[in-house]
Subunit: 101 residues, 2 copies
Amino acid sequence: MTGGASSSCGACKFLRRKCTTECVFTPYFCYSQGAQHFSAVHKVFGASNVSKLLMKIPMQNRSEAAISISYEALARMQDPIYGCVAQILALQQQVSQISLP
Amino acid sequence: MTGGASSSCGACKFLRRKCTTECVFTPYFCYSQGAQHFSAVHKVFGASNVSKLLMKIPMQNRSEAAISISYEALARMQDPIYGCVAQILALQQQVSQISLP
């Protein structure tokens, strides 16, 4: 957001850098678990890839994108083999079971 | 797998490098669309991150991991805002609708 380390966003806290007004991550990782979630995002996607991805998305959609990216990253940390695809497979199975006559 | 460009895996074809026996991607991107899928994987996750991720997974689970990673990458290319999380949300909605009394 601005100046000192205490007001750094979760991404800058994790990257141990000064958060500036140009920081693309600030609006999306400024919450208590921001640094923890960004740590997963960084490990799975890489800060640079996520920064590029966010910059290509219209401003009004970046928050949703950051949430879905964090979600995928945390799922991949928890389940390195299937990530959030495990949830898709489980839900597909649930739908097919419920839909059975 | 071995030697020349013609036998390179999809990852090495995309990265324009010689495929060696040490290539971690070979078993998982050796199919007709391997290079195209790896292009998405590289753009979304980065080759280095995926290589690290695969190396940490037991050999017998790497194929499944590569499939789920490719799936996530292709979904993110198609829907930069929600990626495959869009499918989770749609399936959750479907389950809640079907489950309604």
